[in-house]
Symmetry: C2
Subunit: 316 residues, 2 copies
Amino acid sequence: MLVGIDLGGTSIKAGLVDREGRILIQSSIDTKVGRDYRLIIKDMEKQIEKLLEDYGSGIDEIESIGIGAPGLMNYKSGHVIYCTNLFWNNVPLGVELQEYFKKPVYIENDATVAGLAESLFGSTKNVPNSVFITIGTGIGSGIIINNKVYSGSNFAGSELGHMIIGDNFYRCNCGNNGCLETFASATAMIKYAAHRLSEDKVKSVILDKADGKLENINAKIIFDAAKDGDQLGKETVDRMIKYLSIGLINVYNILDPDVIAIGGGVSKAGDFLIERLKEEVGKMFFTPNIKYGNIVLAQLGNEAGILGAAFLGMNM
Amino acid sequence: MLVGIDLGGTSIKAGLVDREGRILIQSSIDTKVGRDYRLIIKDMEKQIEKLLEDYGSGIDEIESIGIGAPGLMNYKSGHVIYCTNLFWNNVPLGVELQEYFKKPVYIENDATVAGLAESLFGSTKNVPNSVFITIGTGIGSGIIINNKVYSGSNFAGSELGHMIIGDNFYRCNCGNNGCLETFASATAMIKYAAHRLSEDKVKSVILDKADGKLENINAKIIFDAAKDGDQLGKETVDRMIKYLSIGLINVYNILDPDVIAIGGGVSKAGDFLIERLKEEVGKMFFTPNIKYGNIVLAQLGNEAGILGAAFLGMNM
């Protein structure tokens, strides 16, 4: 039996998972971010013990524990190098859990973990090379090469959201200008629509749907406005698709995977999004002599975090 | 003993190579591009037989034959999918040589082959993950992951030159706008300088050094002008370094290799280029908590083609 943990800025989701990828039992607790990291780790220990108790099982039956968290993870040393949401720098997350449970503990970036889950049980199953891209507040990604997680030599790879693809009107949190996530995330769509509404004073139903408040705008409002034929809504969606397609063509020209899977909040736009992306990316392919990998919707949703984390140990 | 062939639009270089990576004997013949592909392949067969004869050896002593060529290569089927310089589409290069010599024949993209050579015997030796970037007329690249060549699922990966990183004033040969090679190749530098000279009527010693003719401008003239303090020379070099640095930071954020090696004609700018790149890329790193991989000059020069091709069979 495996333990998978999805550590986020809001909640910690944990589950017991069997080797066929079934989540046997799971729970969610508040992260209560801002506390000393030791208190958060202590809560994770209790959460695992409670799951084992509720399932009528013991720690002896656990093969390994895996954790996915936002940020950069040193999977060799077990340290969280950097995690914005939790305000963590160089936190010995894996080390402490390993000492407590006396079991192998594996940590990885949360999008990488979700990419692994999709590769084992979801949208990118049965192919050796795949790229999972999760589009929400930011853009994260997980690269699978030869059926294994690839996150680089210094734990800093697989950050497709920070691929620079143009000049933008605002800078990325990372300090650079032009990162993919500043063009194609939900935040990017919201910032662009708000920018056009406030700077260019364009008229749009987006503002009405947001009760007249810029801060109420979200990606769903923008997609709905676009579907209703609203000009700014359409322009904002078109812009997102244009730049996301550039990001994807770069993925094809660099990694040429068998499948690209799109997940995260923005992927709720569903087949509409996938079809538009295929159309735009199709225009940019290098040669017609090749059948390039497919673009699909991710399948596992929120469970990808627990599932992928649980299987980190099997993938090393 | 191994045979390595570097097939280019101008010449075909071939060599016999031992398993320690020593080129025992080599020769170069004219490609005479434009002929029926069968004639070119026939010439390669004769070239190999002549090398064997001159070295006093026989085909029985050959383990495998490897070929690097510009373009996309189907290393599984042995077909050249696409090669602009040779005007080849779907040419059974590997198939025909294999039938003729009754030995395993491996084909790969020429930059990928050079990347393999650097990884085995040159600038990126002893590290598992590296990226070789050759900057000349265009930009090619070779990706090594876990000590193996990585060129994607459909033979279309590792084309870093076609990574889109901005908007440019001219389109790339691939049909897209904003490819790295339209910003950072020798051709890109020449086009930019010529564009500024003709469109913006700027004054520069570049035109003097080119005997007043735009078509005489080359990268060396531009680098020399920049060193002499010429304004357009400096701007052209700065622009190349700015965009090449964006390309490199994307490589770090996606692949996070142990080493990035720069080769090709533009790399003759030497340490000056490497130091400027390190400085610019250093400003864009995601976090100071990580020691990122180094940027170095490639070491093998023209021999990388024969050497890497020879070892393709050892790397599969």
